[in-house]
Symmetry: D2
């Protein structure tokens, strides 16, 4: 039984960890911390968990208790994992960080995008970017995992096969992305209010979203050369779900590729991936098909047979885009069935 | 491994059966019929099921194939189970009917409410009303189960303890109920369109909803005398969920009951019920806390200490109100863990 | 041209006043105050108003500027109008208060429900409860208007005809009410977040909502004797709209009333009321039919011909339930066409 | 008083015409036809119109009655206006067609996209594409108006200034568009059901949407050379609103343009346009800001100062994208104030 600690369990990624772990056959949440809710039962705060965690209470953060766990998840704002990860690693506890603290490889770049110095640059070298589809082997032995962001998960899974094979132009890539409101977290902010977000759509953070450097970093690694990306996120009136609409051009050498070859490329790339589903050519995946499920579902298009390839990729931002992916990492690290606790089908309707 | 057949699997209760059964450790869907979709793969129609039922296709209804199953679920409009149930029972196959065909004990009453003669009155005597909380023993040996309606499940679970103990007036009961749109099914009807149901609420079928006689029948049995009920359903802009707000008066003999005694009554009544959750006194259950879960969550109120008791009961109409409850019945009939395949926590947020 | 001041214009009732007044033929907003947004243009904060108020900016509250207006609307939390109303009245400016400050006639009762002493009890005697359907004459000459709450508007309009004529039991009245989220205002609170309120319904404040004493006060006046009411509000996943489902019993003397007589009672009572619409017998009004409109739409039911009358009443909580009704009051006070600026049909779909 | 006829008034563009015309100072709906609802009062079908059209009933189509009107709106599926327009024009009645019947200038192209022969090719020469921002003068004297589609209105208004001035590459234009469900009309189709469309997003008709040739035709005219466009529409869980996210590259000759020059270009182009609002540089318009309003609101971006210009354009698909624009055309044709009946601010929240 894997002993689990969770730091910062009152946000949406925290409760989602609890929901998913409740059906994990071989894991047990021992500690869950929250300064603001210390003493409160988790099922008191999250009544959907009633009957599942009757003896689990939020506690003040206590490094000793956390260090007694096999693994600690950080479901915290950025900066918190910086402060605590080192100590836990020293104590032999593995760390899976759902925040952005260890996603960027370069501490200066991190500091620039997050507006504060990086708090643990010495850990960057050993942290592993936890996208199982590119780093399964490193994850197995990693002590510190940076769980990818929600947008990056969808965009990278949608584009990796093309960049890895060098089939597409590395400049002029467009990622037009759409997210549900839960991506903004459980903080009480006016733009996240029902009356502000319902019955409307808007773009936001055009050209300056913090997931931009993360996506660029990973696509650049895959391509072996710098990738130039325009990333435009949009806020939608739904709770969960990310839909990435990705526009990329076949490079001159590969404009002769047939639709069938493109489809096969994706199918082969993800053949053994339990959390990626390539739909038939010309499919339009719906976010609801992955609601609550640890799956990235992908459809491929090439209108009028031109050099423009359109990749549609959907995930549940709280599952494959956060807590589910974190558990997938844990399963890999601890030699579990990779989808233990993650096998449920999407809730549809 | 329980062999399962499903008749009429293209509606919302059909896909929900499939979603839940996908995680059942000891059951296998062998046949699923649909005239309109014969030949189509279930995961083609319901992409949330991709990866789960790769070899299951809708087929034309075929009694021989169905009769080879251990149990057949009817997820059909009323009238269909009437026509087929007898034959299946004769073949030794058990039948769990999610439609209204066997819910009313009286064939004439059924004919009056459904506008057509009852098609199998000879089966009424042996059919069991499948609310495990009142009929677990009969369910164990039943051959034919009438799965309760969604509204009746919420209203009856909310009121049974009071009527069984004779604590409340049997006349003047008010059930003000609110439902999500999925209760209307997957039929293409104008009132179920997004643009008709979103951003609005309305009452409907005031005083003449078909669930009215079902609720009255069951409460009357519990009370041992006729119950007079006013039932007002409302349509809400959400997919899943039923919220029953129940108003009932303590009778003269019992107005001295304390709040604590009322709370204890409910807790004791449902102490061993795995699918009923009594929240602390004065709680207001949210439907989202049971989204996707096979639970009825109940909160009790008594404003100003008057003789009026207010019971708030919530369920997911597609789970405890339909497909989950059907599986709960199956588990009881076949000696399975009662919640096999039904342990998932509600999806929240 | 009526010169208008608005105190506290950054909430939902504030922007709704601006939206409606933009089409008023004979009124001009001169001053709008907001401590937090002083200096900001109203159309900068509310882009729907771009093109309508190009020269209107939020300013720090300044009594002199407000006092130069003909009328000042308070769209503020409770307590603010207490502090400023007297001074404005002394300066000859009329006051229309959308908050709860002057709704209860009894200062002690107000203090009890709002948890602080009443700040201007000396004004209670002259304040007029601004429901035009009962107080049009007093409104004409009033200096200080207490605009009714949203729930009270719907409940009172739905029940007044029955109580005024003494047709129904005054005890045991039930008001099961449903509201959209905008009723909670624009404050950044967790329960008002999209991810908390969407796809769910819950009851709240059962038996202790602040609108309870207001409703009871007004119904008691209409009935000429104390009215006993149970009021259960529910929060729904929609922006605007209140749906009141009202259960009341004909008293012994009046159980012979026919349905047609009841229908006629309501039609006659509201025959000359431009903001109340009695639908045909057995109608189920939808909140969307009044979205953005200054109308209360009412449908009457009497299931099974019993003594129980069910009144369904819907309003837009921000229009007839707040800002629209405030303007209706202003129109009456200043001799305008009562619906000036308020004639727009509901936005449907 | 302009006498108006409406053919096919039971869909969403029909009721929206009625809603808007109810506040028009100088127009009167004389006839509204519907085969399926003949004899029904419009306010019976659309209760939001109660109090506005008490004497207007749907009638069987009758050319003589329609021909007695000054203008007839077609709010019909494609093909209907083909059959009737000629006869009405011969009778001296003007025709404003909200369907696609006269939008494409080439009858063969129309036949190809709509799967049937064009029914009135002889009228194509005189029909005017009713986008006031490009054709106000022709509209004044036109007898037959083709009201632009909803997507085309948003995309064209967003791109026209750039193409008219020859500033951008004419190939590789991307229009990633998002729409509310009302764009699919009031037909009872499964994909438009609440339970199919809520809480989800999907792309659809990638590369083969019928609005594609319309957009290309108009942009090509503006550019004076063929425009190559990729158009990807997405269906969102909201009733009203279109959000166009437009990606276009400055051509070699114009990459030195400053942001301020781009902003000024748009401001000058639309300076005298009452239904186009250019927001400040880097603004993200929300669809809710135009809910119910006849406005296209536009924001401009150029991330990292590159040659890629991003235009964000929002409209209410039922107003500026259909019925409002139709009335704007009528106002121009009949010498009315161009925004008569169209001045209301967007409903927000």
């Amino acid at each position: 039984m894997i002993k689990i600690g969770i730091v910062g369990g009152t946000g949406y990624t925290g409760v989602e960890l609890l929901r998913l772990l409740a059906s994990h056959p071989n894991a047990q949440v021992e500690v869950i911390t929250s300064r603001s809710e210390a003493g409160v039962g988790v099922a008191e705060m999250y009544p959907n968990l009633r009957g599942h965690y009757s003896n689990l209470f939020f506690t003040e953060p206590d490094v000793a208790l956390l260090a007694a766990c096999d693994v600690v998840f950080f479901a915290t704002p950025h900066g918190v994992a910086h402060a605590l990860a080192g100590e836990l690693l020293d104590a032999g506890t593995r760390v899976i960080d759902l925040s952005a603290d260890f996603r960027l490889n370069n501490a200066e770049e991190w500091a620039e995008w997050y507006g504060q110095p990086h708090g643990a640059p010495e850990l960057l070298k050993e942290s592993v970017y936890g996208l199982p589809e590119i780093a399964r082997e490193e994850i197995k032995t990693a002590r510190l995992i940076a769980v990818p962001g929600c947008y990056p998960t969808a965009v990278e899974l949608g584009l990796l096969p093309l960049f890895e094979k060098g089939l597409v132009e590395t400049q002029g890539v467009i990622a037009d992305c759409k997210t549900g409101v839960s991506g903004a977290g459980r903080g009480a902010k006016v733009p996240s209010l029902f009356c502000e977000a319902a019955e409307s759509i808007k773009a936001y953070a055009v050209g300056n979203h913090r997931h931009h450097p993360e996506i660029t970093q990973e696509l650049t690694k895959a391509a072996g050369q710098p990738v130039g990306l325009t990333f435009v996120p949009h806020l939608l009136p739904m709770i969960r779900g990310i839909h990435a609409t990705l526009y990329v051009r076949l490079n001159t050498a590969n404009q002769g590729l047939t639709d069938a070859e493109l489809q096969e490329l994706f199918e082969m790339r993800y053949k053994n991936e339990p959390s990626v589903d390539i739909m038939p050519w010309n499919s339009c995946p719906e976010t609801r098909s992955v609601r609550g499920a640890n799956v990235c579902r992908i459809g491929l298009h090439r209108p009028q047979g031109s050099d423009l390839v359109i990749v549609l990729a959907v995930i549940d931002n709280l599952v494959k885009g956060a807590s589910g992916q974190a558990i997938q990492n844990m399963n890999i690290m601890f030699g579990q069935d990779e989808l233990a606790g993650l096998t449920y089908a999407g809730l549809m309707p």
